[in-house]
């Protein structure tokens, strides 16, 4: 048997959103029950709300590719959860070097971010030198438990370094319950097209 870890954020009014901006909250509207007993709802949300996949267009306006260019087969496969819960500010090249990263790996970074249920302005992020190191190694993708993979760096060099080198970025994971180690990963973004991101359900499958 196997065990399924749900590593997604719940999407609901009042959830943690970037910068705690009210305008980034999702709106969920249910119609009154119809006379024949049917309930139907709509959702209006930022595509960067909760767990989501970013596409290069998010930060490369001139030539960035859109979300449908990231095939599902790139978001399904082996991934390794790495423990960075002792990191206080940002994940650096030096922090990453300890983990023996391999070309082609998809990594998920577990940090203090997974242990808070609010948006913290000093969340743990991936520093520019860390992003450059991932490109050097040839890492295929990175998932973070921050709502963003970056803060406090002018001109977004972490995002842009990763996007320019086709390293997939997944943000807003919840890794508190997941022990570090190897898993079969499925990141399942809504099948949107022509835009720069998509909200996703994300899960890991381990031995049960």
């Amino acid at each position: 048997m196997f065990k399924v870890y749900d590593i997604s954020m719940t999407i609901e009014k009042g959830m943690p959103v970037w910068g705690n901006h009210d305008g980034k909250q999702p709106e969920i509207n249910s119609q009154p029950t119809s006379p024949d007993g049917v309930n139907e709802s709509r959702i209006d949300m930022d595509v960067h709300c909760g767990t989501h996949v970013d596409a290069p267009l998010h930060m490369l306006p001139e030539d960035g590719s859109t979300i449908e260019t990231i095939g599902l087969e790139e978001l399904v496969g082996n991934a390794r959860v790495l423990d960075f819960t002792d990191v206080n500010d940002s994940i650096t090249r030096e922090d990453l070097e300890k983990h023996g990263l391999q070309k082609g790996e998809f990594i998920l970074v577990k940090t203090k971010n997974s242990f808070t249920d609010s948006f913290e302005s000093d969340f743990v992020f991936l520093r520019e030198d860390g992003a450059r190191y991932l490109v050097e190694v040839g890492v295929r993708g990175i998932g973070t438990d921050g709502l963003g993979i970056e803060r406090s760096q002018a001109e977004y060099p972490t995002h842009r370094t990763l996007f320019r080198n086709n390293v997939i970025i997944v943000e807003g994971l919840r890794l508190k319950e997941v022990p570090p180690g190897s898993y079969f990963m499925v990141i399942a973004p809504l099948k949107l097209t022509g835009i720069e991101a998509a909200p996703a359900r994300a899960l890991l499958i381990g031995n049960g």
Copy 2:
């Protein structure tokens, strides 16, 4: 190696929606690129738009449970794609009996619906007697390539029979490219809460 089949509908303006009602179309709005080169979008959609999972509250207003009560572990596991492409109107008990269904199975019905890219008012659906048969056998869930699992039946007996017996309903699959047979299935609805459905990415994993 393995092969990933994306069995989800693309969510975009002009996509097939129930009854071809304009009000059920998704709205995708991108803000102008910010001065520092960042693109951000929002999506406003019916939660029954495209591929989605229904929860009992959709049709059982008095005591129906909501979407978060369907755990991810119930949507991940083995599933069998059954060929009903020769069926013209509706899948009946008799049609289902030919397939040797087993207690606890999750089945996906591949019909003519997978071969059209528009909403057809005479789409192939699951007839009430078919739903009753699934409950008798103890099938765990059913996915259909129709935008609904039912049409043309007063008081929605197919939905209600399945919901009352905790048979999971997935609608709006795209199965054209998938040969009948057994797969590892992942249905990944957005992690919504308190409402009657959630849009989903859905995939099958087979031998590559």
